[in-house]
């Protein structure tokens, strides 16, 4: 979900003053990507400088944008060179349905794509599996074979539009399908951009769409990181996600800690395999939830950048500055949307979006006002996209880098969040790491407790949600059209998949599936065999079933 590679400042050092920063870090960045305008001014015509900071040497904990420890942003120019990417997630029905929504979004000014998959795809079941049938295409698009991905991306130039896939347990299959489709479009491997979420650890702690036991699933994530670094060097094979952790009820500190600890786990597991940290860490990206506490959310992104930079440089020993940068996609908090008085969600989302931008996100999804009920209607999603355009074009918040840097409150809160998160991460490492802390329910317990505490506070009216526990109004008719799925979509999807299963090269499918099994059993990277099976039109379910047999299925501890 993250778009431009961060500036790789040769020394990775910190400028002693603003002039040095301007002549080295900023100058190098502007050479690669100039600012959007020669000069920036306020609406009244007053000049806006590229950066405001204290005179002399800055506090080393704050530093300069584009320099370690990146508190003020991963790029020296931030949005003055390139605004954040407007990336709305979309997915429903069959591949053709979602492809139509993509074209609508691009026509209304969206600049990147993002895909939600349906539950059977997320969990590695084909659409004609008995548990899949009631869920086909409901909360995302149904994908069974590479043909579905080809139709999903039809007429979308994959060398120009970066695409993010929100998928985890079966991500190894979808990443392979994306590569096969991009190459079939004629895109060279160096030009394939995009992101796949592929953050399995947070599935066990928050979203619950897992298949295999955690240790084996982490191994699959490392397989995809290794494969992508070789085969699609500009692709982000993992987007470590605090979003779902927060939506499950965590605090901001827990979101920071569990996310960064997860990312640390993937990188250190890759190192254990013999890969250099700098081979995989530069393409690790992040995904955050932007909730209602305006300043806390801004400071959360600033603290995440600084803590990740330190973890990679000092804890792991990564030397490439690109390994230190916490590049992020953000989404306004779905959980903050209310079913009551849904128009209020427009205001909530706009303010959360502003926090994401002031926090320095690289791309942003703004929720639609009707998402507490349904897949967003076209009218509602348009308001969400327009909200981002208003922020970028009218409010001028993209014209200055880290405008809140140096604020006593913002810096103090950034420090505090960083310290609290670091303490929690060290606690997890002391307990044996993320996998151990998932297997014994430590992390799930923390999230469940935070979620229950918030619910108690709401019911005691110590916390407020306008329209829900204060300013309550009688229920009114919904001010939007219901989103209705085509009732025949499941049948259409099953028909396509079953017809492909009959016409494909069966011997090749069988042999490729066998090769996946051998790689999984023998501890080799499964991805080359997976891509071979994809090309032979093996299905998502068949490939995931092979690994079900090798790895087993996970039964989670019940924690509430």
């Amino acid at each position: 979900m993250v778009d431009s590679a961060s500036e790789s400042k040769s020394a990775g050092g910190m400028s002693p003053d603003q002039n040095t920063w301007k002549e080295t870090t900023l100058a190098a960045s502007l050479k690669k990507m100039p600012a959007r305008e020669e000069t920036f001014t306020t609406l009244s015509g007053l000049p806006i400088n590229e950066l405001y900071c204290a005179t002399g040497t800055p506090d080393p904990a704050i530093g300069f944008p584009g320099e370690y420890p990146y508190t003020r942003g991963v790029h020296p120019t931030m949005y003055r060179a390139r605004p954040w990417t407007i990336r709305q997630v979309a997915g429903f029905g069959t591949a053709e349905d979602t492809n139509g929504r993509y074209k609508y979004l691009l026509a209304h000014g969206e600049t990147g794509l993002s895909t939600d998959f349906d539950l059977p795809t997320l969990l590695g079941y084909d659409s004609d599996h008995p548990v899949a049938v009631p869920e086909i295409g409901k909360i995302g698009v149904a994908v069974d074979t590479v043909e579905d991905v080809r139709l999903l991306m039809a007429d979308i130039p994959l060398d120009q539009v970066s695409t993010s896939y929100t998928i985890n347990a079966s991500a190894f299959v979808l990443m392979g399908m994306y590569e096969v489709v991009a190459k079939a479009q004629g895109v060279r491997k160096e030009l394939i951009t995009g992101t796949i979420q592929n953050d399995i650890l947070k599935e066990y702690t928050a979203q619950n769409e897992y298949i295999y036991p955690p240790a084996q699933a982490v191994r699959l994530v490392v397989d995809t990181m290794e494969y992508a670094a070789k085969m699609m060097p500009r692709y982000n094979p993992v987007s470590v996600s605090g979003y779902h952790i927060r939506e499950a009820g965590s605090t901001a500190v827990q979101e920071l800690a569990f996310t960064l600890a997860g990312a640390h786990c993937y990188v250190t597991e890759a190192v254990k395999r013999g890969l250099e940290a700098d081979f995989v860490a530069p393409r690790v990206s992040f995904f955050w939830d932007i909730h209602n506490d305006f300043f806390e959310e801004i400071c959360k992104l600033r603290a995440a950048r600084r803590l990740w930079a330190r973890m990679m440089r000092e804890w792991v020993g990564a030397k490439d500055p690109r390994s230190w940068t916490m590049r992020a996609h953000s989404q306004t908090a779905g959980v903050s949307l209310t079913a009551q008085q849904p128009d209020n969600n427009i205001a909530r989302t706009a303010i959360q979006a502003l926090a994401a931008i002031l926090g320095g996100t690289q791309s942003l999804h703004t929720n639609s006002k009707d998402e507490a009920y349904q897949i967003p209607s076209e009218g509602a999603i348009k308001i969400a996209v327009r909200t981002q355009q208003i922020l970028a074009l009218e409010n001028r918040v993209a014209d200055v880098v880290d405008p809140l840097g140096g604020s006593y409150y913002v810096e103090a809160l950034t420090d505090r969040l960083e310290q609290e998160a670091e303490t929690l991460i060290r606690q997890i490492l002391d307990r044996g790491g993320m996998v151990a802390s998932i297997e014994d329910g430590f992390i799930q317990r923390q999230i469940a407790d935070a979620s229950a505490a918030y619910q108690h506070a709401l019911e005691a009216k110590k916390e407020f949600i306008v329209g829900v526990n204060v300013q309550v109004e009688p229920e009114a008719a919904l001010p939007f059209e219901p989103f209705v799925l085509d009732p025949g979509l499941g049948e259409r999807q099953i028909k396509r998949t079953q017809s492909i299963r009959k016409s494909r090269p069966q011997a090749e499918v069988g042999s490729a599936l066998k090769e996946i099994e051998q790689a999984a059993t023998g501890g080799q990277n499964v991805m080359p065999a997976v891509v071979r099976a994809i090309k032979a039109q093996a299905t998502v379910g068949e490939m995931c079933d092979v690994l079900r047999r090798v790895f087993g299925e996970y039964r989670a501890p019940l924690v509430y």
Binding site: V131, P134, E135, K138, A372, Y373, A448, A556, L558, Y560
Partner: protein, 136 residues
């Protein structure tokens, strides 16, 4: 002697969004009920078996995946066929308003949407099932 209400909280289908299910399971427990939380990925057969084996008075189904019509119909039918007594079925999650009368027609007693205070749900269940708690 009064025995506590026994409540099964279930997550049918492939939906993993369990924040609401866990919150309501905790609220039932805090209200003195005996709670059996099934966890996620439950089929109709698994849910009904749990209700029967646990001799539950109440079944709470939490669903946010849009498959509510399918599971409301199947679970209620199967409970009528298999449960020895009348089990109170309530549903929570995201349902389009037009679907609420439909799941009630299948046998769901009440649907609790987003933002419902847990105390409201607890009170509802107690009011509906109070007599069951005191066997003659």
């Amino acid at each position: 002697m009064k025995r506590p209400l026994r409540v099964v909280v279930a997550k049918p289908g492939l939906d993993g969004h369990d924040r609401g299910a866990k919150i309501i399971a905790r609220a039932f427990r805090d209200a003195g009920m005996e709670v059996i939380y099934t966890g996620i990925f439950q089929t109709t057969e698994m849910i009904v078996r749990t209700v029967v084996e646990e001799d539950a008075d109440v079944l709470g189904i939490s669903i946010l995946s849009g498959a509510h019509l399918h599971f409301a119909e199947e679970v209620c039918r199967s409970l009528r066929e298999q449960a020895a007594k009348d089990v109170l079925v309530v549903m929570g999650g995201i349902l389009p308003p037009a679907d609420i009368p439909r799941v009630k027609a299948y046998g769901v007693a009440e649907v609790f949407g987003p933002g419902t205070p847990t105390s409201h749900i607890v009170d509802y269940v107690k009011a509906k099932r109070a007599p069951m708690a005191e066997p003659a």
